[in-house]
């Protein structure tokens, strides 16, 4: 790497992180001992990550297990949402009547905070874990439906005219024309859904308890252990970032256009 690209590529993010650390130090030194500084937090983080996969009974497990448990919930809820949401998006985008029928419903339900659905999930599924998965499902289904439907509607009319000339069946239209054309929109929906799901799981686990990074934060808050809360904030952020990067890689592999971060 030459000096020029060093200044252009590597330096700005380092400056950003440095700024964060500086602000953090200022805040922690003005707040007295309430907010621990970067150094103490780093030492505690080394302690926490020395053994991220220990198991000491069901109520005390390493931070690694907690992250995995949360990711598992996200995967199940998100997977179910994709199974339902993407086909639903296709149908809504393709059939005018259904789109007019369901749009008001979607507009009504989409802005509701997913956590408001948690008590309903608890009542219906009679279990905390299915209820948490249900909130993930409900929060990640909307972006997938909406983006897929929009994608279907934006398929250039020329493509559809060609299909009509060739007298293609509806199935053939879906697989050879719609799907490739809609894919970039769909993947945008998927990315939006995953980042929302990751936001929501932390909040949902705070309420339901059990193993998971959200309850880990709650438990540390119960002891007002601020150092571990800050560590958890970084862990949650980094996992979210990794999820995002993986999906961007996936999106670039499937589409011709450049995917914006």
């Amino acid at each position: 790497m030459d000096a020029n690209s060093f200044f252009r590529v590597a330096l700005p993010p380092v400056c950003g992180l440095g700024l964060l650390a500086l602000l953090w130090m200022i805040v922690s030194s003005t707040m007295g001992q309430d907010i621990p500084g970067p150094r103490e937090t780093w030492l505690q983080a080394v302690e926490v990550f020395r053994d991220p996969f220990y198991r000491n009974g069901p109520n005390d497990q390493g931070v690694g297990w907690n992250v995995l448990a949360s990711l598992q919930r996200v995967a199940v809820g998100f997977g179910l949402a994709a199974l339902v949401g993407i086909p639903a998006g296709f149908v809504i985008g393709r059939v005018e009547f259904l789109s007019r029928m369901l749009n008001p419903l979607i507009s009504l339900l989409r802005p509701v905070s997913p956590l408001a659905w948690l008590p309903i999930g608890l009542l219906v599924f009679k279990g905390a874990n299915p209820a948490a998965i249900w909130t993930i499902f409900i929060c990640s289904i909307w972006p997938m439906i909406i983006n897929t439907a929009v994608g279907v509607r934006r398929v250039p009319q020329d493509y559809m005219n060609v299909a009509r000339v060739l007298n293609l069946s509806e199935w053939k239209i879906a697989t050879t024309i719609l799907f490739p054309a809609v894919l970039p929109y769909m993947l945008t929906g998927v990315r939006l859904a995953v980042s929302t799901a990751w936001l929501v799981i932390v909040a949902a686990e705070m309420l339901t308890g059990g193993v998971g990074i959200g309850f880990w934060v709650w438990d540390e808050w119960n002891n007002l252990n601020v150092k571990n809360i800050i560590i958890a904030i970084f862990v949650i952020g980094i996992v979210g970032l990794v999820l995002e990067l993986v999906l961007i890689k996936l999106a670039t592999a499937f589409t011709f256009e450049e995917v914006k971060t």
Partner: protein, 407 residues
């Protein structure tokens, strides 16, 4: 479970009892065998979850043929939901919460059961340092300050029908403060109480230890009164479950009660056991706090955060020769009278009938006598509370209506 395993189990236990004779194990003989071996017991990280945790840690559960799995819960509302939907078999739970669910007050309605008391005493009313600096260090001085400086004062409990909300209400009213008028009572989790008190949003709260000690250690609040000063040897947490569970798994229920009673006896036996308990439950898996925050008040060493310290003989008790664990009907009825007093109940319930349904007095008697734990003769007890009013369980409706300050 498939039917073949049941048959094999039956065969094995029959073989075992045949081999061992009638005096086999403590529990294994014949029909006393627990129907369900693994029992999930929910707990909230507080000092008074100790007997449930110690029953599991000391292995007392295995002695009676069950395995207690303590499960840390996020909030009392979470405990309620998981008890109702069966995710938890039993819980370390607020006395009033069980009655609230039984009557369907502000939530799901399900027949519930109080198996035994887990502790007496050991909660406290904390007032903020800011109020203390203005001279409000107990009920009367708080009332004087609230008359002089009028604004909205915020106080907190941990669950609407729970014990802390009732102590908070009772304590305010005893000092002549109407909690329905001129004060705002909210339900918030303990850390939020502390955080809000730190920034001046919260004037007082009632909560279990170690939180009051913690407020003193963090220099944000003072202990105005301990709850044992409100009611000496007051009922607090209970071992609660659903009526369905007791009906379906009577032997399991008995076995768990025995293990928890034995753990309670062990904790109260001497101060070295208490220290061991404090070390165990302060771990990350349980209360997740420093040993100091627990050990001082558990031994009766109190300080109020503004210079006074004393030895309290009425510190948190887990056993007290069985007096703690007996599910007095009058204790259960008291929470109903307060629910009525503060408008959570719209009409007088049949106090005695409800208490008899919920509190498993007969079950407790048989368990306690099998363990040679002394059982009080009377199902009622008489106590004089902080305002000088005596509660003996005799005329609950009259008692509930007798208070000047009520909803």
């Amino acid at each position: 479970m498939s039917s073949s395993t049941i048959q094999r189990r039956g065969f094995l236990s029959a073989a075992a009892s045949a081999a061992l004779g009638a005096s086999g194990g403590v529990w294994a003989a014949g029909s006393d065998k627990p129907e369900k071996e693994e029992v999930r017991i929910g707990f909230i990280p507080l000092t008074d979850c100790a007997s449930v945790v110690m029953a599991s840690v000391l292995g007392l559960d295995k002695k009676y043929g069950v395995k207690i799995v303590p499960s840390k819960e996020a909030s009392w509302a979470g405990v309620r939901d998981k008890l109702v939907n069966g995710e938890l078999d039993m819980a370390h739970v607020l006395y009033g919460l069980i009655y609230g669910v039984h009557l369907g007050l502000g939530g799901p309605k399900k027949n519930m059961a109080v198996l035994m008391g887990l502790n007496h005493n050991g909660q406290a009313i904390t007032l903020s340092k800011a109020l203390a600096r203005k001279g409000a260090v107990d009920g009367p001085s708080l009332a004087a300050l609230m008359r002089k400086e009028k604004r909205e004062y915020s106080f907190a409990g941990t669950f609407p029908t729970g014990t802390h909300a009732m102590w908070m209400h009772y304590w305010l009213a005893a000092a002549g403060i109407d909690p329905m008028n001129g004060a705002r009572l909210v339900t918030v989790p303990p850390p939020q109480m502390v955080a809000n008190m730190r920034v001046g949003n919260m004037d007082g709260f009632c909560v279990g230890e170690p939180w009051n000690q913690r407020a003193i250690m963090d220099d944000i609040g003072i202990t105005a009164n301990t709850t044992q000063e409100i009611w000496k040897d007051h009922p607090e947490k209970v071992l609660g479950t659903t009526a369905d569970f007791v009906g379906k798994y009577p032997n399991t229920t008995r076995a768990v009660m025995m293990a928890v009673i034995e753990a309670s006896r062990w904790i109260d036996a001497n101060s070295s056991n208490k220290m061991k308990m404090a070390e165990t439950i302060s771990a990350k898996a349980y209360v997740n706090t420093s040993v100091d925050a627990i050990s001082q008040r558990i031994l009766g060493r109190y300080q109020n955060g503004s210079g006074k310290s004393w030895d309290d003989p009425d510190h948190m008790k887990f056993f007290n020769d069985g007096a703690v664990n007996f599910p007095y009907l009058s204790d259960g009825m008291w929470f109903l009278t307060q629910h009525k007093r503060w408008g959570l109940l719209k009409a007088h319930p049949d106090y005695l009938a409800v208490a008899r349904q919920v509190n498993q007095v007969e079950l407790y008697r048989s368990v306690a006598s099998a363990m040679n734990v002394s059982v009080p003769k009377d199902e009622m007890r008489t106590s004089k509370l902080i305002d000088g009013v005596t509660w003996d369980g005799k005329d609950p409706a009259k008692y509930a209506d007798s208070f000047k300050i009520k909803a």
